[in-house]
């Protein structure tokens, strides 16, 4: 029998497999079959295996990311970027040169239906759309000068998620998993909590692109079986266990014949992970042991059904952070008009969308703070672009897409709170100060996780690909 024949030589790899406590990401990393299927141990150290687990490039503030994705594009001038001039010129022809828009149906200047108030010690103005989040404004770095290169949803979504406007590149979460692995033994490292709306562009917003499938997001629904195929098919756990036992015995015999083949060994280990996941996911989703107060704070008892849905995903996000899930993205619930995409009915749509997310997000920030998790959790709130300060169409109360400037905020995980960064013109149309590219956002997020965005590369298509392509600068001004 020669099953463990190479055991002395293959310590590095095996030790890494066992000790890196990396769960999905790195076990998968370490067990890719791209290399020859046998005898690869000796070379599979981190120097030669491009997929081997990597330490951060430097000490990281943030260990997890919660990305609150505001699908459709929140209007900056109605949320975090007040523009009195819009009130003054409401209904008048717009005062600046206008670029072509998605619907190219240009109306007049449109004032915000919401009032802004200053909050916190920082006195940062927030509109009446977000009274709850406003209470935490001293934790936020409000960036008013993010830009996109695309005025169309799908491209802008891909751009926001993958740093590139076309289908096929790895999502942020996949890059993070590729760079750092996960700290969780029994849950995926990159999870999308689907509130109901998969954004335009589809699941490829969350995919692993040219990175191995190991890094793609697991999409968790809010329903009974939150992960595909997570529910055991057998009537009893015993019946399944006997199957797995037999399978293991048969697999072991195969390994005895072939010797230690990485591919086989990791495929076997994969079942252990899958089994653990079968156990862990129901535990994760079971909110009954959360206190009444917590549930209430997150809005699980709110009158508005979408608040309850989003509240549940926010609470789940916190539970995932506690379990070491690396990258968690939340998508919006449906039924609030067309996402945040209010080409018309701005007041109604934005009101419902804000009602959906405001209380749960505020509760999440409070909860993370209270549990001491906010310092190690980067929370990012962003849509794919902003909205025009002028109306779409002559009699419309809606706004078209605006990629030239929009507001996002970040909190926790090494972010300096209570500040604004960047400025738009007097109408909130284009940036005039500290304009940021999407790549800058990505560079900064990676930086906060301890990853140098210029060094995290994957060779594909004749290039060393990066999340930030050949661009991106860390926005040092917003770091704590």
């Amino acid at each position: 029998m020669h099953c463990r024949r190479f055991v002395t030589q293959s310590q590095t790899r095996r030790a890494m497999l066992q000790s890196c406590a990396s769960g999905f990401g790195t076990v998968a990393l370490a067990s890719l079959l791209n290399e020859p299927a046998f005898g690869a141990e000796a070379t599979s150290t981190s120097e030669t295996n491009p997929f081997a687990a990597r330490k951060p490039h430097f000490d990281a503030q943030a260990k997890s990311v919660i990305f609150l994705y505001m699908d459709g594009g929140v209007s900056q001038v109605d949320s975090f970027d007040p523009k009195p001039r819009l009130d003054a010129e409401n209904g008048k022809p717009f005062g600046l040169k206008i670029e072509k828009t998605q619907f190219n149906n240009i109306g007049n200047t449109l004032a915000s239906p919401w009032k802004f108030q200053q909050y916190g010690e920082s006195g940062i103005p927030v509109s009446d759309l977000f009274p709850h989040v406003a209470q935490h404004v001293d934790k936020l770095a409000v960036v008013r000068s993010l830009t996109s290169q695309f005025p169309e949803h799908t491209n802008a979504n891909y751009f926001l998620h993958t740093g590139h406007g076309q289908q096929g590149r790895p999502s942020m979460g996949a890059w993070v998993g590729y760079g750092l692995g996960a700290e969780c033994q029994d849950l995926p490292g990159f999870v999308v909590l689907n509130g109901g709306l998969i954004p335009p562009g589809g699941l490829d917003n969350f995919n692993s692109g040219f990175l191995p499938a190991s890094f793609q997001a697991s999409v968790l629904g809010a329903g009974d079986a939150p992960v595909a195929n997570i529910k055991r098919a057998e009537p009893t756990a015993d019946a399944q266990q006997r199957k797995l036992d037999l399978m293991r015995r048969l697999d072991r015999k195969l390994l005895e014949q072939t010797g230690p083949v990485d591919a086989l060994e990791s495929a076997i280990a994969n079942y252990e992970l899958a089994s653990r996941m079968q156990m862990a996911v129901p535990q994760l989703m079971d909110l009954t042991n959360e206190t009444e107060a917590t549930q209430k704070a997150y809005g699980l008892q709110a009158d508005f059904a979408n608040t309850r849905t989003f509240g549940r995903t926010c609470l789940l996000a916190r539970r995932m952070v506690e379990r070491g899930v690396r990258f968690i993205e939340l998508t919006c619930p449906g039924g609030n008009g067309d996402r945040w995409d209010q080409h018309q009915g701005l007041k109604d749509g934005h009101t419902k969308n804000a009602l959906t997310v405001d209380q749960p997000i505020a509760a999440l920030l409070a909860d993370l703070t209270q549990r001491g998790l906010l310092d190690s959790t980067l929370v990012v709130w962003s849509g794919e672009f902003g909205r025009t300060p002028f109306a779409q169409g002559s009699e419309s109360d809606g706004r078209d897409h605006n990629p030239f400037a929009f507001s996002i905020w970040m909190a926790g995980g090494g972010i300096k709170g209570g500040m604004t960064f960047g400025q738009t013109d007097e109408y909130g149309y284009k940036c005039v100060e500290n304009r940021l590219e999407m790549h800058d956002l990505h560079a900064t997020m990676l930086h906060l996780l301890g990853v140098d965005h210029t060094k995290q590369t994957f060779r594909f298509s004749g290039r060393d690909m990066r999340l930030t392509d050949v661009h991106g600068h860390v926005v040092n001004e917003i770091l704590a």
């Binding site: 791209n34 690869a40 072509k100 335009p200 499938a213 997570i230 199957k243």
Partner: protein
Amino acid sequence: MLKPRRLLLLIGVAVAALTAWPRERADSQESPTFDAASVEFFQSKVKPLLEARCFECHGPEAKKLKGGLSLASRADVLRGGDSGAAIVPGKPSESLLVKAINYVDFEMPPKSRLPEGEVAILSEWVKRGAPWSADKDDPARDPKLDAFPLAERKAKHWAWKPIAHVEPPKVRQPFQIDPNVNPATFRDSNAIDQFLLSKLEERGLSHAPAADRRTLLRRVYFAIVGLPPTPAEADEFVADQAPTREALARVVDRLLESPHFGERWARHWLDLVRYAETLGHEFDYPLHHAHQYRDYVIRALNADVPYDRFVVEHVAGDLLPVGWVESSRPTNQTREKLAGGSRGLDPPYVARPHPTDGYNESLLATGFWFLGEDKHAPVDAKGEQAARIDNQLDVFSKAFLGLTVACARCHDHKFDAIRTSDYYAFAGFLQSSRRQTAYLDPHGKIDAAVAELKRSRSEQSSNPKIAKTREVPSATMLIEEFTAKSFVDLQHPSAERREVNNDNSPLAPRPSPVRWFATGWAFGDGPNRHGVVHSGELALRLRGVLRSPTFTITHPQILYRLAGQNARVRLVLDGYQMMDFSGLLFNGTTFEVKTDGKWVWHRQAGDLQNHLGRRAYIELIDDGDGWIACESIWFSNGGREPTALGGEVAPLVDIPTETARIEIPEPMRAIAICDGNAVNERVFIRGSHKNLGPEVARRNLEVLDGIDQTIVDDEAGSGRLQLALRLIDAKSNPFVPRVAVNRVWHHLFGRGIVESVDNFGVLGKEPTHPELLDHLAESFVADGWSLKRLIRRIVLTNAWQQSSEPPSLELAKKTHEVDPQNLWLHRAPIHRLESEAIRDSMLLVAGHLDRKSFGPSVPVHLTSFMQGRGRPGTSGPLDGDGRRSVYTSINRNFLSPMMLAFDTPIPFTTIGRRNVSNVPAQALILMNDPFVLDMSKRWAERTLKESADFTPGQRIERLYLDALTRSPTAVEQAEALAFLQEQAKSYNLPADGWSKHAQVWTDLCHVLFNVKEFVFVK
């Protein structure tokens, strides 16, 4: 055979000559002398500002000059960067630099606008003539620093070297394992072994012993047809008395003739062309008829179409003349002659008919150009076209050449001998081509019907009541002159093309004639005697499209003088086709024609005004039982129609009824490319379509064929065929054969000789066996580019037939030290099966495989996790109708989770080497997915039915043979039996009768699907 069609047509639009790129400003301009005040102004105000705001990217110390622009000296400023001179002294409003700091056209500095005061200073400086300090020693940047080292790169990198002839090296070891086999029988395979053994011997290694027959058979089945052998097939092979290699050769020959060969290897190919059946983006609109391309690939592989022809058909299958005559293959000489730019096309290269249905098979290959993503309502249509062409060229250059030409879109290639101009030379071929829904004529029935219709018509006297009444419009009414054009049917290009002059119009001068292009049958042989194109003159049932030359939109409206019913017109702007799905931003570009038999003026306006300056062409579409007639097309600024021009311009011909008895079948449709007129592309500076550089002639890569190529001829259209013929010239271009044989090697050994199969460039991997690669490429070409024979040669090597298991502990230790990655193939690799092969195996084993080939795809099964816009209304069946995975539809935004989990690539670019990853989703699928459970159940039920009188032990053996091509060991038997009994007990089944219950057998079948031996091939 169809005659080439010609048509005299009184419509057309002049193609505006592309304005010449302005000459670069001379940079030898002497620096004038400036007065002291100006110099002082520069020194105190301007220079500090430049240093503070600009020099980080454009200064003497800049790590890398951005945009090629240096502001370090006055000469540098005047020379400018990639976008031209930075300033025009004295003219701030014409100066790029001043525009940029005002955020017009460019936005500089990129992060934040300069304060107004600083903008004013720089404007003032330009206005004063850009004074510079007296000590003007700042040296201008040496242009040689930026010269592109093409020759050097070519000389340095292995892949540009021609294919070398290398004799197989002598080897010490006897590599013939079986002494009973005559070495001459396998001479070609032995040659490959010699190359491999020679490398092994250099390292003191040798091949592993041969794999046992059952392992070998399983391996060869998966390699060639992607399915496991049945127990009967395995028994037959084991029982074959001939030496293993001979017995295997017979199996290989049989499998290569199996229709499943094409299905297996087509899937490999589809990975290269980002094959999908929807268009992705926001709503995942359908890509109609895509499956015709998939079926083409399967048929082509099964027919062993020579690979060079396969390439030509992909690039220019639409341009191959139809002439269903078997012809000898072209010699290199004819090819050279052809590729040399002669305009005549009477080569032995003709289109290939479908083997049974006789339609133009070669045309289908060109569908690959259009299998990518497509986007509706792009705000920047030209930018979207640039993105599409980028993807097309990326796929084209990687799939066929193993080169990353698309890397040169924004700048000269960073590593390879490819210039930006090469990229735009290729882009011109696509600018000169269009997407078409091609009409195909199975069994030539439509052609026959058309011939009969014509005969029938000519027997009747021409209609006397139609008089020639066309009147010439008065010149004052004309917005732009339209001249007579000829057009040529793209599917049937003619060797000599007669230009038809129209002397009808007194309006002079006339630009040189530009062709219109027709496909299908409806538009007949040309305009009728009244100068009208008419798609209904022969029969309403005939389909056809007539396309104009490419022109530039110079006016906000277009007027059409037309009539018709159930027909359509499209104005295709910058190649934009998605108006069929969404009118947004392209309102009015397509319209229905329904005029109740009268001539009308149709005014096309809508969003056209937003597309001034764009390139466009017009399509007159008769795609149903209708007709369209068109007399003239005019540009308009919005004035009234020229109705006073003479009333009934050309009376409509009676719609024929007398020929109704002639049956005309519906044509088959396929997505394909077709030629337009020649349009060269201009360089997009830094990849931006808003910043145009010089025009580049269409040609092959400079590094292969030099800068002065005469391969295309503008009169002949795009020139894609000439390009294709240059590409397959293995003497000048080693890439096509090398890349092809390397891909085959990759699929058979799990790793290419060049591991980076899609990139033979500097950033790719070097070949492990360069001599072998050249040997394979050379023999591949010499053997008529036969993929099947190449596969056979490789599979019949001893190297391929080795065991994957280490022969002994001692040897294993040694080989592990010397060849840890098995680069030198000291044993066979172990592969995990691809997702399709896993699923197909389950279907086969379960007895549920429907072996039907071809046809529209089975809709993908939708799980509740597959959500989003464009989700199909209904889900496909869980079992995919039992069809092989290659026949399941591929919806870009709704990709099958099982396929994705096992690494079927996302269809966005060429993926010649799939990832092989390991995700819990794989285990969860095999453990719990309803499809796997369903197959387990079917397999168990089938087995019970087929082996009703078997003992449990015999039945266990049967399952093993089904799934793993081998019998269970005694221990495995015992364990399986114990497992069955345990399960039976837990289900409360009787101790003596449990073995008749499918439930317990389903459980065992399920376990066997989950064992690694099922999803791995040794």
